[in-house]
C-alpha cells in the first residue's frame, strides 16, 4: 500500500469523501422529496421536516400530473423528438465517420478539421436563420423542425466520436475483406458497425440525453402543441410559487428517464465522454 492509499483509507478521509458523495446526491433527493409534498408544505417548511413525518408525503402531485393533458402530451412529444433525432444522428454520422476514416479522398483532412471546428459552434448562431428558414418550409413550431435542428447540432460530435473509434479498428480486417471481394458497403455494414457497437451505444446514449434535456431549442422551435417536457415545465416556472406542485414532480419526471439511462448504461456513458473529448 502506498502512503496515498493509506491516507485515503483512513477513517477521517473516508468520512470526508462520504460526506462529499452524500452532498452530491442531495439535490436529486431534495427534488424527489419536494415532489411528494403539497405546495403549501413546500412554501412553509423545509423538506427535512417531511423526513420527521414521512406520512405527510403523498403521491397526489403525481396523480394530478398524470391527469394533466399538457404534461402527458409533452412527455410523448419528448419521445417523438428524441427517438428520431437519435436514430438519424447515429445513422448519418456513422456513414460520414466511415468516409472520413477509411475512404481516401482529397480534402478529407480539411473536412475533418472543419468537423472539429464545428464541434464547439454555439447553437445560438443558428437560431435566427433557421427560425426563418423553417418558417418558410413550414417546419417552425413542429416536431420535425425541432428534430432537424437537433440533428444538425448533434452531427459534429457524433461524427467525431465515431471517427475516433473507427480509425482505431485494425487495417488488416478491411484488407482481408477486400481480398475476399467485399465492397465498402459490405465492409461498413458487416464488419465496422458490429465492431463499433460499443461506440454507437455511447453515442446513442449521449445523443438521447442531449435531446431529452434540451430546453433552448424546444423553447424557440416548438409551439405549445409540440413542446417537450422541458419546455412545458419551463412555462410553469414563470409562476414558481403557485405551481410548485406541478413543477417539482414534473422536473423529477423529466429527470427520471436520464437517471435510468445513466444507471443502466453508466459504462457506455463514461466511454462516450472519454471518446468525445478532444485530446491534448
Amino acid at each position: 500500500m502506498t502512503r496515498l492509499a493509506r491516507f485515503v483509507s483512513t477513517g477521517a478521509m473516508q468520512i470526508v469523501l462520504m460526506a462529499i458523495a452524500l452532498f452530491w446526491l442531495l439535490p436529486v433527493f431534495v427534488l424527489f422529496i419536494q415532489s411528494l409534498r403539497s405546495s403549501g408544505e413546500i412554501a412553509n417548511s423545509g423538506w427535512w421536516t417531511a423526513l420527521a413525518n414521512p406520512s405527510s408525503l403523498m403521491v397526489d402531485n403525481y396523480r394530478a400530473l398524470l391527469e394533466n393533458p399538457d404534461i402527458i402530451r409533452s412527455f410523448w412529444n419528448t419521445v417523438y423528438i428524441t427517438v428520431p433525432t437519435t436514430i438519424l444522428v447515429v445513422a448519418i454520422a456513422a456513414g460520414a465517420a466511415y468516409a472520413l476514416s477509411w475512404i481516401k479522398f482529397r480534402g478529407r483532412d480539411t473536412l475533418l478539421l472543419i468537423v472539429v471546428g464545428l464541434l464547439v459552434v454555439p447553437l445560438q448562431i443558428a437560431l435566427i436563420p433557421l427560425a426563418r428558414l423553417f418558417g418558410d418550409l413550414g417546419l417552425f413550431g413542429t416536431i420535425p423542425g425541432v428534430v432537424l435542428f437537433h440533428v444538425g447540432f448533434g452531427l459534429p460530435f457524433a461524427i467525431f466520436l465515431l471517427r475516433n473509434f473507427f480509425v482505431g479498428v485494425p487495417r488488416e480486417l478491411f484488407e482481408s475483406a477486400r481480398v475476399d471481394g467485399a465492397n465498402d458497403l459490405i465492409i461498413f455494414a458487416r464488419i465496422l458497425i458490429p465492431l463499433a457497437l460499443p461506440a454507437i451505444a455511447s453515442l446513442t446514449i449521449f445523443q438521447f440525453l442531449w435531446v431529452w434535456n434540451d430546453l433552448l431549442i424546444a423553447m424557440v422551435f416548438a409551439d405549445p402543441a409540440s413542446a417537450p417536457l422541458t419546455a412545458a415545465i419551463q412555462r410553469q416556472t414563470r409562476a414558481f410559487g403557485q405551481n410548485v406542485d406541478v413543477i417539482a414532480p414534473g422536473a423529477f419526471l423529466q429527470m427520471v428517464v436520464p437517471l435510468f439511462v445513466f444507471f443502466a448504461f453508466q459504462r457506455y456513458f463514461v466511454q462516450g465522454i472519454l471518446g468525445g473529448a478532444v485530446k491534448g
Binding site: T2, L4, A5, V8, M13, L17, I20, A21, W24, P27, L31, I42, N44, G46, W48, G95, A96, Y98, A99, I103, F105, L111, L112, V116, L119, V120, V121, P122, Q124, I125, A126, L127, I128, P129, L148, V151, G152, F153, P156, D184, F188, L209, N213, L215, L216, V220, Q234, T237, I247, A248, A251, Q254, P258, L259, F262, I273, L274, A277, V278, K279
Partner: protein, 441 residues
Amino acid sequence: MATAVKDNRAPRANKTGRAVVLFLKVSAFLGPALIILGALLVYPIIFTGVRSTFDASGNNFVGLANYEQIFTQPRTLIAVRNNLIWVLVVPPIITALGLIFAVLSNRLPWRSAFRMAIFMPLVVSGLAAGVTFRFLFAASPEVGTANAMVRSVAHIFQPPGEYPTARASREAPLEALEGGGFQSTISVTAGDTIYLGLVGVQANALPQEAQAALAPAATPGSVAGVVWLDFSPGGTVGEIDPAERGMPNVPVRLMSDDQVVARTLTDESGRFSFDVQSGAQHRVQLAASAFRAPHPGIAWLGPTFITIAIMIGYIWMQTGFAVVIIGAGLSSLDRELQEAARTDGATELQVFRHVTVPVLMPILMVVLVTTVINVLKIFDLVYIIAPESMQPYANVLALEMWRASFGGARDFGLGSALAMLLLIMIIPAMLFNIRNFRRSG
C-alpha cells in the same frame, strides 16, 4: 501504334472511372452529413454574420451599430461582464475539484460508488437542476436548504438570543442600546430594586423553566432587579401581575461609568442581584446576546448572490465531467514516476504537485478548455434559477441573445450580433481543439 493509344487511354478512362466511383462512394457515405452541416451550421454562421449588421427590421444596414449597442447598453454589458466572470471563475474551480476528487477517490475502496454520485448530475437537465436549486436556495432558512446550513453554521459562532423580538415595556426604565440590548435610564445604588419589564414576546414562547415573576428583594449591600414579561390580559403595565412570568437566562451587566463591573444571569423568576459598595451609582444593562435575532440567511436569489448561486448549481452539474476525464488520465498514468518520487522521499503533497499535476497537465488543459466552451454557452440554468426580476443581474450572452430575439424584443439584429460575439469568444477554444486534434491525428 493502335495498341499504344489504347494503352494510353485505357488507364486514363480507368482513372476517370475510378474518380467517378470514388466521388459517388464518398457522396453516398458523406453526402447527407455534408448537406445537413452545410444547411444547418455553415449557412447560419454566414447568415447570422450578415444579419448582425442590419437593424431590427432587417431592411437597413447599420454596420457595427448592434455590436456597439452590446458594449454600451447596461443590460448587455452586464451579460458580457457576467460571461467573463463565469469563464474566469467556474472552469478553474471545476478543473481543480475534478482533480482533487479524482486523486482522492483513485485508491478508494468504494471508488465507483463515489464517482457514480459525482457523475450522476451530468445526466440531469438544466431545467431539473434549475428547479432543484430554486428550492435549495429558497430565501427563508426555515425552507431553503442552503440558508438552513448557513444559519446553523452562523449560530455556532453567534447563537441567537432567546428573546429576539423583545422590547422595553412602556413603563420600564430602559433604553435600547445601539447594537442591541438595553440599558437602564436610571441609576441604582446599594439597597435599590429595579423593575425591567419587557414586552413583544409571546407568553408561550418563554422557555420551559420560566416561573411566575417575583418581586426583587435587595439587601443593604446589593442591587436587585427583575426582568419579566410585563404583559398579561387585564394586567397593569409596570407592575408584576399574578399571571406574568419572569424571563430567565438574560445576561445582566452592572455598569459603572460605561465599564462592566459585574455580570450575572436572571433566574427562573427573572430575578438578579449584584453585591455593590454603598454609595456607588450604577446602571444596569441587558446584554444584546439575549435579544439577537436568528441569522436571516443569505439572499441567494437576490441581486448580489444570484450568479454565485447559479455557479454552485453549475459546478454541481459539471464536476463529474472533469472527474471522468482526469480519472481516466490518472489510471493511464505511469505509476513508476510517482513511486520513484516516493522512494526519493517526496511527501504525498510533493508527489502530487511535482509529478502528478505536471504529467496530467495536458489533460487538465483539455478539461479547462472544454469547460470554458460550455460555460460560455450557459443558458438554461440561468434562465430557470434566476427569478424573472433577477435576470438582468444574472444575465449572460446566451440568455440575452434568446431574450433579444425570441423573448419579446424580436430584435434579430441585436440577437445576431450577440450570437456572433459568442462565436467569436469561442474561437480561441476552437483553435486550441483543432491544434490538439492535428497533433494527435
